[in-house]
Symmetry: C2
Subunit: 295 residues, 2 copies
């Protein structure tokens, strides 16, 4: 049996799993990112955690897969920008990890890793083509075409959250205006509350909270319609923390999707929820080690 | 030498060319679509023109390629909708032509055919991946990924003109609101004038006409930025009647493209003009006969 490390870095936690080639998650550990946001102390913490999780398999690993929530240039093995860690600029991830570990290193955007996880072990197991959408502080995207990840020339594909759906619209953290994720991620949640609270309130019947999710769903549906019009892809898998509020925004999302693309396509579009309960990124990162599933 | 027919149906003319496998356009004829918009008289007119243009090569043709400006289900050989010909619904194009001609029939959306033309003999000859944008009464799109046309599950991919860039924005002919093509095709031209007149006026220094093209370019650039963010594709080829006004909207288009996607990608994006002078659709339709260039 072959083994790989799947690792994922979020805004709050670093998570590392040991995964075998059948897709079994053998051991998983996480620790807070904390203040170690400068590249060198961060990589010290990450490599320590990888050694710890790999245990006896460390010297026989098939490789290490790492998902990072930023602009990844997979061709050059470099991450250009990482919004949570503003001090990171053009960090040579592959080079840094190769100095510590002798096995192959694969890194990519976290939404791409989540897409590979769904393709391997999740709700997209039987799908040829789909778009993974991770709904969190932004909207991440991973495009799977004919069972392979489409990365674009430099690995930049899938930055769907910054698709503009309102020219000169609301300000986005990226510096631009009207990006999709301003309307359909936690960026849309008013500062005085949280997505989780709003979901609970909607469940309890609160009308304002219900209205919030209805509007959220409308904007989510517009963006999915756009992706369908452009790519002709019929399957969309929702993951990330906010996807759990799916029942509250599902109806308005589907309605807006239908209204914003043409009938022959809309009637074929299927919107699914991830079934991997947050482990999709780790599984996908390991899968990227075991197979070459990119264009 | 092998020969194919490349045919294209626009709102005004039916155009048919005899093309050899080196990409030489040997003879080309066109006639007005006129009032023959019901499927059967239309196909009589089209097949007569094909016979006429094919001449002595009729019985040895490698095939007939046909581009149509509508929602083409290439998998089922059927066109669902053709906006210029509202009476067309689910017309079985492949079947109708196969009853008349014994050679293979290939049909697709006209923008997809234009993309294949650029890939074969045009400005995209040396590109791996690009998006063709035909600017006319709407915005047609053709996605070429790794030198093959990406069609989506049913052949519906590339309906980029109906990407929504203004939620609840201006009304589009499709019945929806805020579609890209309302802002960056001849749909953006005020009724009392034409794109050609506005281009002439801008060339002569008219400030209002210049302002029109500046705004046109801004919206065009937003949409190109969106396509780049989603697909990671770096090359865009503009064709269609309005592309000729390129010098008037180029600057604002590039500026808006830069402003609406992230720097690392924007700095790599190249916006090119078609060099095929309107024959791209015919060449692409013939190319689709000679080679299987689809996903």
């Amino acid at each position: 049996m072959r083994y790989a490390i799947g690792a994922d870095v979020g805004g709050t936690n670093i998570r590392v799993g040991l995964i075998d080639e059948s897709g079994r998650l053998i051991v998983k550990k996480s620790e807070p990112v904390g203040s170690a946001r400068d590249p060198l102390p961060f990589f010290k913490r990450l490599t320590d955690l990888i050694e710890n999780v790999a245990g006896a398999h460390l010297n026989s690993l098939s490789g290490i897969g790492l998902g990072l929530p930023g602009i990844c240039n997979t061709k050059e093995g470099m991450i250009h920008q990482l919004p949570h860690f503003p001090s990171w600029r053009d960090v040579p991830v592959s080079k840094i990890l190769s100095e510590k570990f002798s096995c192959p290193i694969v890194f990519d955007n976290d939404a791409n890793m989540a897409a590979l996880g769904e393709l391997w072990r999740g709700t997209a197991k039987h799908l040829d083509s789909f778009i993974m959408l991770t709904l969190g502080t932004g909207i991440g995207g991973g495009l799977v075409l004919n069972r392979k990840l489409w990365q674009g020339a430099q690995g930049f594909a899938g930055e769907v959250g910054h698709m503009v759906i309102e020219v000169d619209g609301r300000a986005c953290a990226c510096g631009n205006k009207g990006c999709w994720e301003v309307y359909a991620s936690s960026g849309a949640v008013p500062k005085e509350t949280t997505a989780e609270k709003l979901a609970d309130q909607a469940f309890a019947g609160d009308l304002e909270a219900k209205k919030f999710w209805e509007t959220f769903g409308k904007y989510l549906g517009v963006g999915i319609a756009n992706l369908a019009s452009i790519t002709g892809i019929e399957n969309y898998v929702l993951g990330g923390g906010i996807a759990k509020a799916f029942p509250h925004f599902m109806e308005s999302c589907k309605k807006a999707m239908h209204q914003n693309t043409y009938d022959h396509l809309a009637s074929r579009v299927v919107i699914l929820q991830s079934t991997l309960d947050g482990d999709g990124n780790l599984l996908g990162a390991a899968n990227a080690v075991f197979t070459s599933r990119t264009w």
